[in-house]
């Protein structure tokens, strides 16, 4: 799917993505010549179809996680289907390596269904390590959600 600014005859560039949480998606595209912006609005079924392909409009913000689509989308997974393995290989510059979770952050993480919790935890942990953040708090989680486009996690 691409968008053409007919007046300028220029391909419009992806600008922003919004997932309001009601199953719909809004993505904006901007003409690099005249600045005109249009929004692509998809209904829940169309949004789901894109998710089903394991791709993200606007590009990936985090590396593909193992069995990502299965873990994100299966509604009837068993609680103990997954166990976390080894720590991530290497740490980004500036990272202390040691990472802690505040009690509030742990509570929030505990509300994530078991089936997907390990993946969500890893994404937040990678985010913190890459930025040299030693403690994950709800504020860090909120920032990560916004920056990484983790709506729904």
């Amino acid at each position: 799917m691409k968008f053409l600014c007919v007046d300028c005859d220029r391909q419009m560039a992806f600008a922003e993505r919004h997932l309001p949480g009601d199953g719909t998606l809004a993505a904006t595209f901007k003409c690099p010549a005249c600045g005109r912006t249009v929004a692509l609005l998809t209904n829940p079924m169309e949004t789901q179809l894109v998710s089903s392909l394991g791709v993200e409009i606007g590009g990936r913000t985090v590396p593909a996680q193992p069995l990502e689509t299965v873990r994100k989308m299966v509604a009837t997974g068993r609680d103990d289907a997954f166990a976390e393995g080894d720590e991530p290989r290497g740490h980004a510059p500036g990272s202390t390596g040691a990472l802690s979770w505040s009690s509030d952050a742990q509570e929030r993480l505990a509300r994530v269904p078991n089936f997907v919790r390990g993946m969500v935890k890893k994404i937040y942990a990678d985010y913190a390590r890459e930025r040299g953040i030693a403690e994950i708090t709800p504020a860090v989680m909120d920032t990560a959600r916004g920056e990484l486009g983790l709506e729904g996690m």
């Binding site: 391909q11 998710s51 509604a75």
Partner: protein, 259 residues
Amino acid sequence: MRPLRTYHDLTEADRSGLPEQIGAQRRRVAERLAGVRRVIAVMSGKGGVGKSYVTAHLARALARAGRAAGVLDADLNGPTIPRLLEVPHAPRTTHDDTVEPAVGADGVKCISMDLLLADGQPLAFKGPTAESFVWRGAMEASALREFLGDVAWGTLDVLLLDLPPGMQRYLELCDILAGPPAALTVTIPTPESRDAVRRAMRAALERGSPLLGIVENMVGQQFAGTAGDDLAGEFAVPVLARIPWHPTPDTWSALGARL
């Protein structure tokens, strides 16, 4: 007014990079299967002929013969491979970019939706229920792709793909894999089975799958017919095994030796 440019005329870089994301998915599968010498789809086009049973026992026979074998249970809605391979339920360990497969009887590696679903629960996806037929097939194809590309298969001599009845999963495989997989076809002796399996073999041949041969299952007793020989003759492939109702380990070993 100048003519409107069309999709393929617009070639500027796109931040979404959807084709690149799809390409990365394909590369991930290829990289993960780089250590797998042969990928074989066990298929039929007909339900109830014993594909999973044949797949599991063939894998075990291969493993007993010293060949590293794995099974991917591609029957996402009716998975049975873990039970046939006597795989105990245990959490699948996740790493940076892989999930460890389960290991069943005789050391056969496997992955199956059965290992991930809550007991007795059907495979259900989050999402809108209305018109779910639009996206459900794509979701299952993604799950299949992740089973291929995200499981730490390691080095295998053979990865058997246990396909459900019908051709949909086979066609998805052809799209996900770099090329169509080799096909091992299972039938029972009856003419009804023959007619259904014939269509599946024809479709596999047209997609370019090498046809390895026929396994005629449930031979003897109430299932009369010559489906195995008929199909072997039509497609110029061998009948690799005729599996009786009560096969012995030697039955499976003989089949494994012919692959």
